[in-house]
Chain length 191, copies 2
DNA sequence: ACGTTTGTAAAGTTTTTTCTGTACGTACAA
DNA sequence: TTGTACGTACAGAAAAAACTTTACAAACGT
């Protein structure tokens, strides 16, 4: 995984143990991004790699098949957590972790949540339109009107929420979010 | 699922179809919250329920076992997407969907992400401390110092990111987020 | 106290997902 | 063109998750 030349066994072991703790913690928590434990582990491992890695190197390091590395890396690149690196002289694909985690965070919501929002809004709008038509066609039917009114209100509130969520994610994408929540912790007032 | 009295078969069918579309869309997208399709479906179904439901009613409606409803509802209550309702006269537990989706969104991050952040920060800090000690014990070893420096920088950047993420989630929790992204879409300037 | 009802734990089954090994298409080198 | 290296699609095996049935403990009514 690294060049341990110039260090004692013990020193190398301490570094490896420190890395391993972090790798496993990251890997374990990456289920929030919808990736499997082992893909999360792969990501964590790559995080400590200074050089871009090939699929073979990953397989070696992870003790897993190259096929698994291929699918794992695909998942991670789809999420823009890892990207392909071009390097002349080798025919192998090289990958490295996207170092800007703020960007990774934003990308995740743009990629996954934004799509989900669009799907839901579309369903909600379509159903709301159908209910509207239904209500208009039989305005004197109280039972019907009552249900249509209740459902319509729910659908509209949901749409309202999703539009807000979309705007929130827009602020992630544009970087505007860093106005409200700066990357640097605000300095305490000096007297 | 509802009182269809006073409506024609056709009308009831249209309402049901409209609901079903939304329920399935919601259910399908709730994997972002780490819940299964069927639990998401359960949530969507309860969303259209006007009254709190019992486990038996859910099982009936979902065509699933009561045990599954029990575990599904547990998942949803843990996420505060659904909560228990007290009603005298019945021994059964009653549950209903939390209607404030903004709150649900905030709770999700507080419950799931905040915990994940804490775990990661703890691992990162511990490993950073170990590396610091390691470096201090052998200051002339260049190979060692180089690795320690590289890893330490990575760990610190990661901690920095997680602290930011924690502050972001704090703004969800406190409602401060609505200052930057208001629930109401800002009105266009009238000339 | 005794019998019911209710919710869930535990064990077992089914379904889904993950991972591996093989096979194949493409790209490059000679 | 032929041969080799590379990444991935595909099929099957292994592992994990979801769901059901059974069983049981706690709470209630009588």
């Amino acid at each position: 995984m690294n060049n341990w030349v110039g260090m004692t066994e013990e020193q190398a072991g301490i570094v490896q143990k420190a890395r391993k703790r972090v790798i496993e913690s990251i890997g374990k928590n990456m289920d929030l991004y919808g990736v499997t434990l082992s893909t999360g582990h792969l990501y964590g491992m790559m995080f400590f790699q200074d050089k871009p890695m090939t699929l073979d190197e990953m397989g070696e390091e992870m003790g897993m098949s190259k096929t698994s590395m291929s699918t794992g890396v695909r998942t991670l690149t789809d999420l823009k957590m890892v990207h392909k690196v071009w390097e002349k002289g080798t025919r192998k694909d090289l990958y490295e972790v996207e170092p800007d985690w703020y960007q990774t965070f934003a990308d995740f919501f743009v990629i996954k949540w934004q799509k989900s929002i669009e799907m839901n809004v579309q369903s909600l709008r379509k159903s709301a339109a159908e209910l509207k038509r239904l209500g208009e066609n039989d305005p004197d039917n109280e039972a019907l009107q009552s249900i249509v009114a209740t459902d319509t209100r729910k659908l509209e509130e949901a749409i309202h929420y999703y539009l807000w969520l979309g705007r929130l994610i827009d602020t992630f994408e544009s970087g505007e979010v860093f106005k409200l929540v700066p990357k640097e912790e605000p300095q305490a007032d000096s007297k």
